[in-house]
Symmetry: D2
Subunit: 305 residues, 4 copies
């Protein structure tokens, strides 16, 4: 199996040259575009890995399912669903999903920026610092890694250059979808996106979603199975931005990508997968990462369809 992974990486490595590093903040442009790593955690306890699986990167949008999970754990499905919709927007991740009409909660989605910003306000906590601390704690618990922490440089860089997210957040506020101070909400969101992880962390987080809420090491329940299904369903329909349809056809499992180059894939009941390769396609997904998952899915019959 490790051999298979090595083969796949060798086959996919050339694809890194077809993508480009995220450049909207200087910090992300510092990554090595040729990196490619993969880490698998299976329900039978096996671990397989290859390449740059140990290289750290920021979680970026892959924090969105964790934000959603925290909001579900703090509020239940009904409340969260009433505040943030679940339909694919048919638009890029940072789109302003809005025309002349009023913006409604049903127009946003937890896997695109507007929805994820709204989700931040639903995390329990007296302050946005506390909300973020709870999110980080959950991330560590899911990743079974207490050393997961904030990348301060990326966070500050995000905060400085976050005009588009500020526009999105003020629009949410205009239509009453968020009420709190926009800068405080965004500070939490920028921190959330700047959590530093590696492929192993993503694989273990993905595994908890694959196992419907059970801990990898102890088998104990961390969160209700219904929340895993809720998150997985949304990952399936919207996890890969406006490339989700293609990913469903080619790979066929719930997954989430981030502009840091990570992809977390969830093979229900079977596997959590973490991938890292920071050269992105024009939709913001890791080029070599998607290619690797495509081959892996074919070889191991991972598609749920």
């Amino acid at each position: 199996m490790d051999e298979l992974l090595e083969e796949i990486l060798a086959e996919c490595k050339p694809f890194t040259s077809q993508g480009a590093l995220a450049s909207y903040i200087p910090e992300l442009a510092k990554a090595d575009p040729n990196s490619l790593g993969i880490y698998l955690v299976s329900s039978d306890g096996r671990i397989n890995r290859a390449g740059d699986y140990h290289k750290p990167f920021t979680i970026q949008s892959i924090v969105k399912p964790i934000l959603l999970l925290q909001a579900l754990m703090d509020n239940g499905v009904d409340y969260v669903r009433s505040r943030v919709g679940v339909e694919a927007t048919g638009k890029p991740f940072d789109a302003i999903n809005y025309t002349e009409q009023a913006l409604l909660s049903d127009h946003i989605n937890p896997m695109v920026n507007m929805g994820a910003i709204a989700i931040c306000t639903m995390i329990s906590g007296k302050s946005y610092e506390e909300k973020f601390d709870r999110l980080l704690e959950l991330t560590r618990l899911l990743a079974e890694n207490n050393e997961v922490c904030l990348d301060e440089d990326v966070y500050l860089s995000e905060k400085r250059s976050g005009s588009k997210n500020r526009a999105l957040a003020y629009l949410l506020k205009t239509y009453g979808i968020i009420q709190d101070d926009v800068e405080e909400v965004l500070d939490c969101y920028f921190r959330a996106c700047s959590i530093r992880v590696d492929c192993a962390d993503l694989a273990r987080i993905g595994f908890t979603l694959a196992s419907h809420g059970k801990s990898l090491s102890t088998g104990e329940r961390i969160f209700p199975a219904a929340y895993a299904s809720y998150v997985n369903a949304i990952l399936m329909t919207c996890g890969m931005y406006d490339g989700s349809g293609d990913f469903a056809v080619k790979v066929g499992v719930p997954a989430k990508s981030g502009v840091g180059g990570g992809i977390m894939a969830v093979v229900p009941t079977r596997m959590g997968i973490g991938i890292f390769s920071p050269a992105l396609d024009e939709k913001g997904n890791s080029v070599a990462g998607i290619r690797a998952l495509e081959i892996l899915s074919k070889k191991l019959y991972l598609s749920i369809f």
Copy 2:
């Protein structure tokens, strides 16, 4: 199990009053809004059914996955994918997915009207009559029912009142996505939508997708497994119009609805399901039908997430 179905129907029947019959053509408005039927075909050979499972209705949009399947069988995945995209549009089924920019094949999707009209042109056949005949033949084969046939009244009614579809088709022609005579293409599309089926037909068709292409009665392969995965993935992300996200969260299986009141659901490896209840919600999906699938999914753990 039949008891369970009876219970579910009893629980869901009141929901029929929350919807409305499709009214864009007079023929559809003649249905009995209180109808509710269900039919299940399982991989172990069991059949379960309840309510108005024998009532005929027109297939409408549920023909879209069959059209797609026929196009895949005639052209292969790569060609079909190059001509019609797979992303959710984030818009209603008959939306003009178009703003100021050129319309590209990637903007359309086989589960919404524009994409399905384009798919019609990809079916092999010397004439559009022959194309339709081949589609009908495939439908009969999948449904294992040679009596499946065209509802002439609905077809003529569709043809007379199809201005929106004509607008969509001429737009496809403007941008070179279709080249043939628009009226001929649409004639095939209107016929396709007017095929008359019942719950049993839909369940058997769904079963072939669930079994990855194998015949229910003989076990023989009707189409390659890869085509089933392709279709199922698109059903999952776009099968229930702009209610697909909600359906993924609540039911969690690939499915397709039609404005005739039918829903075909596919439980991969396990089951094909046909539902009929013509009172629709504002997105064009059967109100009681979705509710019944939601309960059934919870009771039988059908969600693939």
Copy 3:
């Protein structure tokens, strides 16, 4: 004055190389891209002209104000206004001014294709042939030229390749803005666009709008002054497609351009101007034609602002 015109043409001639001939129908691509002609008719009876003022070309969108005028003469302002809006769409001339919402009459405008197609249905006449004949008759009357006639080749070419206009017309029909047979309506529209004129014709037609409805040669009233104001106001806000704002700032008079290369300009109370130069900018307006009007407006203080 003729000298001034010669100077202006000499100065503007090089701009013809910055545009491109309309290419959506083969007939239009046959024009000589370097042509440039101008013709002025003033209220004091003077006529001035230079360059290719005698070259014939098809009227194309410049027929839109004549269509509007005929509809006003046949129905009055209130009826016409209730059926077709007057706001700028902020979009290109052949845009589908439509998103997810219903298309309303207020969304269309007589100076863009959707609105002009709707206007065709408001012309009096038992058949669409009669409607067109009446329009042609009005055009001849305004142009004081009985030899104005249809360019059969352009008409047939338009009719063959009019997919976009068919899409627009079927959309109008979908929303009940037009009721008649789409092909019949479009036949009238395609004929209207294919009327052959020259700069002198456009100047005389423009003069009737400048003189608020009075004949150039006899001074007799052809149509009520209120209709001239209605048409001129719409020309000012929408006559030059999505370049109307720029034209208002730079030239400052009501005008209408066509993809055949013509521009008809109206200087209220003072002048009618016809221009021909078929090399178009990306918005569909004559490059050298606009430049010539800009210089002329500055030299003769034509701007109404």
Copy 4:
């Protein structure tokens, strides 16, 4: 003439009940919805007035032409035109004129919020305080009234509840159309909108545009005639929001409305008009104000078409 004004006001007063006060900030909702005043300044020196012409109100969007004028005086036409477009957007005043594409300077317009916010950055001044002070100074000069000043309550209310404008401004910043600190730019914009004026002030400001830049009292040139034409042309095409087309047809002169209930109308070479009536139609224009201008235009042949 004063009698005519009294008659018009009597006829239009009932229309105040058809509109509603702007309610997005509490301060505006405190106005008397039945107010109606008018003030005319003519080039022959006559002044006519009636009704509540002396009641103060905040200038709101009517400051947009003054902002534009100041930017033109500080930078010239070419620079201003290169930074902010002039086409009608076809959308409401606070629309996000943006879809999936990049926002370009050509997409915005000085008469809608995005454009006006961008214009603020073009006013000369070391700080945004100085920029505002210069704008206020110009407003006083044009109004020939040194007592024109800021309404502090409205300004603070605008600043507190300006989420939509913040969203617009951050979007401008995202696309590099503005570079400065968003809160500083908006502070200037909110102050600009909160300048308190009355009908007489608006009439005198309008007169300077009608006279192409000459002072009402001294006849001296305040700004170049070309700037007046630039501003008037944009007022004509976009001054009344997405009701500009209707206004062009019905009234036929350049004008600007504000949600405070004011309308400033410019009759080139002849007249400046100030109107106040705070009950607005759904597009944000004064209901009775427009009606009064419509009648006045007919009686005095004001239309420039």
